[in-house]
């Protein structure tokens, strides 16, 4: 994986504590699989983000269908999921979500308990950067993973910066690996 610790936006650089680069897709998958209550956050850019499945909405639905994680759509995009027939997709706006994720007493979107891992994909780069910054300092027990095509320094784990085609492959491997049994 040609991963680089170079952030997407030039000036959104890493602080002293920065994300580990996910060395290969399987590591991301295994982090998610090993989590007790993982959450996938799908941002407003998902529709314009192409994947092997079509776009990131489709990929998120595929992941959702594994039942291994919960999916939340930010902004107004939950409708996209519904149009495509996905059920049980949560909807919560980025700020509301970030604010709750830093609250250890929050019981999650389904009311069943706190998440231990949150993965982000399809977001506005700088908005994810900021929310992960908030979580880095104020939700230190939560593991955050960025599945962004560009390195996100404020996550705990992040894919490195890579080309669009490569990224599609990586995402596909991650999804496959999660979909597989174990």
């Amino acid at each position: 994986m040609a991963a680089r610790m170079i952030p997407g936006q030039t000036a959104e650089i890493a602080g002293p504590k920065k994300a580990f680069v996910i060395p290969k897709p399987e590591v991301a998958a295994s982090l998610i699989k090993r989590a007790k209550r993982p959450l996938l956050v799908v941002g407003s850019k998902a529709v314009e983000t192409q994947t092997m499945d079509g776009d990131l909405i489709d990929t998120a639905i595929r992941l959702h269908n594994t039942g291994r994680l919960q999916v939340v759509a930010t902004a107004h995009i939950v409708g996209e999921f519904m149009k495509r027939g996905a059920e049980g997709i949560h909807s919560m706006q980025m700020m509301n979500l970030g604010d709750r994720l830093r609250d250890p007493d929050w019981r999650g979107l389904d009311g069943e308990g706190a998440y231990d891992l949150v993965a982000f994909a399809g977001t506005l780069y700088y908005l994810e950067w900021l929310v992960e910054s908030g979580l880095k300092s104020f939700a230190q027990d939560l593991t955050t993973i960025s599945l962004s095509r560009s390195y996100q320094p404020n996550a705990n784990w992040s894919l490195g910066t890579m080309k669009a085609d490569k990224w599609k492959e990586v995402i596909d491997v991650i999804v496959k690996s999660i979909t597989e049994d174990n």
Partner: protein, 781 residues
Amino acid sequence: MSKKDLKLKIDEFSSAVGSFKGVEIEIGRIYDDSWEEPMGPTPFPSVGTLRNWDRKLLDRYKPFYMPFCDLCCLCTFGKCDLTGDKRGACGITMAAQQSRIVLLACCIGASTHCAHARHMLDHLMEEFGREAPIEVALNTNVEAPNIRLVCGIKPNTLRDLEDALDYVETQLVQLVAAAHTGQEGDNIDFESKAFHAGMLDHVAMEVADIEQITTLGMPKGIPDAPMTELGFGCIDPNKAVIMCIGHNVLPSVDIIDYLMENDLFGEVEIGGLCCTAHDNSRYNTRAKVIGPISWQLRYLRSGIPDLIVVDEQCIRTDILIEAKKLGVPVIATSEKSMLGLPNRTHDPPDNIVADLVEGKAPGALIIEPKKVGEVAVKTVLGVAPTRKDYKPLSGDDIQEMAEHCRNCEECVRACPNNLPIMEAVQQAAEGNFELLGDIYPACVGCGRCESACPENMPLITFFNKGAEERIANEKFPMRVGRGAVQDVEIREVGRGIVFGEIPGVVALVGCANYPKGGIDVAKIAEEFLNRRFIVVATGCAAMDLAMIRDEEGQNLYERYPGNFDAGGLINIGSCVSNAHITGAAIKIANIFAKRPLRANYEEIADYVYNRVGAVGVAWGAMSQKAASIASGCWRLGIPVVVGPHGAKYRRNLLGRKEKDEDWMTYDARTGEEVYTGPVPEHLFYAAETAEEAIVMIAKLVMRPNDTTKGRAVKLSHYIDLHKKYYGTMPDDLQYFVRREADIPFTMKNEILEYLKEKGWVEDKIAIPDPTLLDRMVRRRE
């Protein structure tokens, strides 16, 4: 009126009544007694006076911090790493540090308006006399709601405004001091101080706009303010073109006067950017509005201007470099922004003109507005003919340059909005400028892509080329800023707003740092105008919303009237006019509800918070001024929504709707604490998309005081918009429907079913006479 006490010893005094020696007069605080309202509890509040009120709000709306940097670099102990629970060498925590920067930003913002007001006031008092009587708006007694509310004084003349500024300055210095290493340590106290700065800012802005309305004949709150023209297309490039940029109208006024006096409007075009443009057009509609802040660079690159006059605030600080590329001189007019230019204030005008026209000097600093007027006009008339042959880049030039693209993607990485610049350049290299043109409307004109490009491609010029046709058509009507809302208007709509029957007041304000272009602002405006909200606008937002046309070719200013009433679209004016928006909210409490105004901040803010369904929207909020303006809204109980870049203000102030205990309110009738639901849900909120923002705005206009009819109207818009943009019913109606009658009639069954699922209980949510203030309780039961 003076806040100083005074001891005069007059050795000799002689007047019509006689002549005396050795008179000694000692006078304490002198208040104008022509104001019969008794002094309220908090005149000239200090940093801590309103802290309890702030803490009430901040207890509901806790800051969610998103550190924009993990470090602090403010002193030489630094840099300090504050990540997580680390503390700086001074002991500061990450939360406090983020709030400290917020405080600093708000201080910078408020200082900017205050300094502007002070500078103008000095000048205007000299020109119009210290005793010039204040006139703000027709049919209006409450001329200065913010000043009255905060300071407890009632200004009658220009010089009375000085007392307000003295106060603001003293307080701002206290606040800036609090940001020193080793001062405040508590993040919530920092937030409270930021609120203080915001409140001060609204006083300063009010002073500034009152000054200019009073003396410069700007519209006095008239709903049918004249139309002016806005956009690239409204400038006649065959004339000599002066481009005025900034926020201080005084130099431009003297340019306009000079043009009028010498009958030169036939030869010279004066166009403005940012607030100077607003205020120019309020002064004289022959001054054209080029556009908002984001158009600076692109308009310069058009090659049209023959002279640039900058005053202060939001001007590109590299204006000299840009001007040089065009071969046009720059006149700087403010001590705040001297740009390294030689001070020619005391030189003979013709010498300066000669130097500028002959290109001997790249520009001049002229602090005296009158002289600016003369020099600018003479200079532009001299420069324009020499620039007749100026040609912007041709398509061929651009194609040729584009071929040098290294595919390095640095431009894209530098772009705040990740626009597909590299792709567009690569298309251009093949002679196709379409994608370049597509970037144009989404681009905020910041120029960072250019600055990052190792090939130094003038990308802004490229985009202009791509959008050539569009640009030629950029010509829209805009009602000029009308200033304050009249008392008589408040009287008419007060009831409708307070009981919720007018669904809300949406204030579109602030800068142009949009995530996807200015068109979103127009869409937001249109959505709420259609639904007969009151929409007010100022600054760059008031320009950007002018830029869509319907099928008949009409824009929003043409389609909606300018009166402060349901379905009205009111251009209030420039950034300093924002004080009239908070002013209107204050006046609703004072004029409609007859709450005492004088130095009575808490009660009025409590009223506004619980009853006035106003929401501020700063979709492109960029500056420190925007931060302090918003901060002043929060303290007054008005929630503010910003675009996603607004998350860079380092924290949001967010309510947690599901925590019932957070939403307890006193019933003023009984003293009981009752649950009123999460209204408004948030105080400061960054939305990811315009669609999200629209739905959130519709939700944030709800208030505990809504009548069932009012709540039903608000809910119907909220639900409708949620369905439209999310494609689903909201999932939080149980927090907002208080009783069956609140449910919009047409949706009753659907919603009741949904509520049943959620375990909704009628009457769980009370409809009290709401207040957060213990002392407003009339009697205890």
